[in-house]
């Protein structure tokens, strides 16, 4: 049994313009110790998926149907008490903006100690000592004295380290990181990514990483799931997805990143923009932007199938490569036509 199982999750937002299906029937699972990425453009439903896992969605958002099981327990059926216990203790979250995640009027140490006290019956002194240990663990220099400093006395990168320390305070089994380094400089980002990698290995924590930066994902994750307009359109082990992408959307996404050392004058783009989720396109949601779209794409929605066999996988193994495109059920007349070029020596050294 996987650590986390999400089955057919549907999340809706009720807005003035109509009902927005932000997440539309996605299913996936994460095993213990695994690092899985969710990538896609803004508005694809990545963050909403994260918030749903912890039932942190606020009105007008609502989980309409589907199941979320964590360690075999039904998350959606938990009482408030049980939910409090789950949050932080078993699933913890690291948000994009650390300055918004920390309370400005408490010292960073107190905030971590508070998280520990909330979940475990420990003395103030023990909580304090553990908080200092955690600050040291996330490589904050001079942890004992910085315990009593306020968030504004920390730089952005250091604040994010504090948030990670807080998230790890109860040794959760799953860490949900929503764009953890997007607000940081590359030099600081590099340090945070290394830290996450080390900690995940040390505590055997599974990570669900949400990112729009395909570089960050390549460095950190075992598997990648690509989201488009509320659906998962492709999932594969990281290497396979980068070197052998199967969904035209993934291909477009990969092609549009400027890479160091390439001398293309013009970057390929994905024409158009993400559809309005109040009124999604018929058939394949990507068809209005897809360079290979045919009549079939407009009429029928493709299902997420194994790219080799064309058969939908009910319980996909972590290494399975799935894509939601008619190409893999042989429903396209002309098929897809692209080529992946892996260049040696692109980048440094």
């Amino acid at each position: 049994m996987a650590l986390l199982e999400v089955e057919d999750l549907v999340v809706q937002f009720y807005t003035e313009d109509g009902t927005v299906r932000a997440v539309d029937g996605i299913s996936y699972e994460i095993d213990r110790g695994e690092t899985v990425a969710l990538v896609g453009e803004s508005g694809a439903g990545k963050s909403v998926t994260c918030l749903s896992l912890l039932r942190l969605l606020e009105r007008p958002g609502e989980i309409v149907s589907g199941e979320i099981r964590f360690d075999g327990r039904d998350v959606l059926g938990l009482s408030d008490e049980e939910l409090r216990d789950l949050r932080g203790n078993e699933i913890a979250m690291v948000f994009q903006d650390p300055s918004a995640a920390l309370n400005p009027v408490y010292t960073v140490g107190e905030q971590i100690a508070e998280a520990i006290r909330a979940h475990e019956d420990v003395t103030d002194e023990t909580a304090r000592r553990r908080a200092i240990d955690l600050l040291e663990r996330v490589e904050i220099p001079d942890a004992a004295s910085r315990y009593s400093e306020y968030p504004h006395e920390f730089s952005g990168g250091m604040q994010q380290r504090v948030v990670i320390a807080m998230a790890l305070s109860c040794e959760p089994d799953l860490l949900v990181c929503d764009e953890p380094t997007t607000a940081l400089d590359v030099t600081i980002e590099a340090g945070i990514l290394e830290l996450l990698e080390d900690l995940a290995a040390e505590f055997d924590t599974a990570i669900q990483l949400v990112s729009h930066d395909l570089g960050v994902v390549a460095g950190l994750c075992d598997r990648v799931q690509v989201m488009y307009a509320g659906e998962i359109v492709e999932r594969a082990p990281t290497e396979e997805l980068y070197y052998d992408p199967k969904h035209p959307y993934t291909v477009g996404l990969m092609a549009s990143i400027p890479r160091i050392g390439d001398d293309r004058d013009e970057l390929p783009t994905i024409p158009g923009s993400m559809p309005d989720l109040v009124d999604v396109p018929t058939g394949c949601r990507f068809h209005p932007r897809c360079p290979y779209a045919e009549e079939a794409c407009r009429l029928r929605a493709p299902s997420l199938v194994d790219v080799e066999t064309g058969v939908p996988a009910d319980e996909p193994a972590p290494n399975d490569h799935l894509a939601a495109c008619h190409e893999y059920t042989d429903d396209l007349v002309d098929g897809l036509d692209y080529e992946v070029v892996v260049e040696d020596g692109g980048g440094l050294e």
Binding site: I188, Y242, G252, L267, I270, S273
Partner: protein, 444 residues
């Protein structure tokens, strides 16, 4: 792409902010002065794109805004063609803004939500009287089409557009006055990659079509590498590295540039480069480090002239000195607080705490270090520190490196200049640049 015709020359530009609040503070001289831009020299040639990169807070935006007088520079000059922008006043300044334009980072905040797109773009046309009033609507439509929108979009409001489309509106507004030079301040940072690619392509097309010159500010080096002909790297208000893009990426570069480059997350799961993770964070510009400003984080510190030490050893010795300077006595140092320690253990513990190798690899240096550690172990921390300081001060700490060409061959825009003592011929800088305090006060 550059054809060597100088468009803009920035010399010794400075921008200082004060943190004083109110008249009383100012009279009493309270508050801190922060030099966000500290004596920057920069040239921009016709038709080229100069990339300006650096971490947040290094002064990139302050520099660009000072050049265009969106904020008042404290000192220095910015000569655009034959006009010094820093001395322009009133209508002359306004007229000049028809030649130089600015595209802001955040397309959600830089467009007035109460104006239609037509008014936003048309405002620039009427302020500068670019076309007769009865042709304005037609021109707005043309401009919108130039940036990949539709003429019919003119009647809509900004909130009806996506981030990428809004950035296109910002670009159309900048283009309205037919400028020659456009500052692009992180134009794609707020956008998704697929949208970002479209904007980058558009900028490239516009440059070719209208012969524009760009100052492209960015923190994403893979983007800057893609668009820029030349790159300038800023650190704590100074340009530390400047040269043609390929040279910065492939050749010898400033250690800070190397660190920035190595930190880019490579979109390739099998990529195995060495990531240089810089120690510590950017020091406060209110109190910049002495000598080379990067020396507090530099992984390539120079050995003191008398010895032959590895950069990591120099770094460790520097940390040891800082540790000793901050300590109130032996007790407050991170060594075993055993009341009756063996002197040898304390020395080993000190080395250990600051990652000083067991053997420095230089006999003379090793001897000095041992004596100093003995003194420290005996309890006289201050003497030990002073001894280390006099022996192991690296030139990076004391002498401010100047931005100088690394090869004398190329001239003009193709010169690669680096401000680092590693690139000094002798390894040490003799004629020191005067300290800030000694320079004449700048006009307010």
């Amino acid at each position: 792409m550059s054809d060597d015709e100088l468009l803009l020359r920035v010399e010794g530009l400075e921008k200082e902010y004060t943190t004083t609040e109110g008249v009383l503070d100012r009279l009493l001289g309270n508050g801190t002065r922060v030099t966000a831009v500290d004596g920057v020299d920069l040239e921009i040639y016709e038709g080229e794109t100069l990339g300006l990169v650096g971490e947040s807070g290094c002064g990139k935006t302050s520099l660009a805004r000072s050049i265009l007088r969106l904020t008042e520079p404290t000192a220095g000059s910015a000569v655009y063609r034959d006009t010094d922008l820093t001395t322009l006043e009133g209508s002359a300044l306004r007229e000049l803004r028809a030649d130089v334009q600015y595209v802001f980072q955040n397309p959600f905040e830089s467009l007035n939500p109460r104006l239609t797109v037509g008014d936003i773009v048309g405002e620039a046309l009427s302020v500068h009287d670019v076309v007769p009033p009865d042709e304005r609507d037609r021109r707005v439509g043309e401009l919108l089409e130039t940036v990949g929108l539709r003429a019919s979009h003119a009647t809509r409001y900004p909130h009806e557009f996506s981030g990428g489309q809004r950035q296109r509106i910002g670009i159309a507004r900048a283009l309205a006055v037919e400028p020659e030079f456009v500052v692009l301040d992180e134009p794609v940072s707020a956008l998704d990659v697929s949208v970002q690619a479209g904007i980058l392509n558009l900028l490239e097309e516009l440059q070719t079509e209208f012969g524009l010159s760009y100052l492209f500010i960015g923190h994403d080096l893979s983007v800057v590498e893609h668009v820029a002909d030349r790159i300038a790297v800023m650190y704590l208000g100074e340009i530390v590295d400047r040269g043609p893009t390929e040279e910065l990426f492939d050749g010898d570069a400033h250690p800070y540039t190397e660190a920035l480059l190595s930190a880019i997350p490579e979109p390739d799961p099998l990529w195995e480069g060495d990531r240089i993770v810089l120690e510590g964070s950017v020091p406060s510009p209110a109190d910049p480090p002495s000598g080379c400003r990067f020396h507090t984080r530099c992984p390539k510190l120079l050995s003191p002239a008398e010895y032959d030490l590895e950069p990591t050893t120099v770094r460790a010795l520097l940390e040891l000195r800082t540790g000793l300077a901050e300590a109130d006595g032996l007790e407050s140092l991170p060594v075993d607080p055993d009341p009756d320690p063996e002197a040898d253990d304390v020395q080993a513990a000190l080395r250990d705490a600051f990652d000083v190798p067991a053997d420095l690899g230089d006999d003379a240096a090793e001897a000095v270090l041992e004596t100093a550690l003995e003194t420290a172990a005996a309890g006289d921390v201050e003497t030990a520190r002073a001894r280390l300081e006099s022996a192991f001060t690296t030139p990076c700490e004391t002498d401010r490196p100047r931005l100088e060409p690394v090869d004398s061959g190329a001239g003009g825009p193709d010169t690669h200049a680096v401000a680092c003592h590693r690139f000094d011929d002798a390894g040490t800088e003799t004629d020191e640049r005067p300290d800030r305090a000694e320079t004449t006060p700048t006009q307010q």
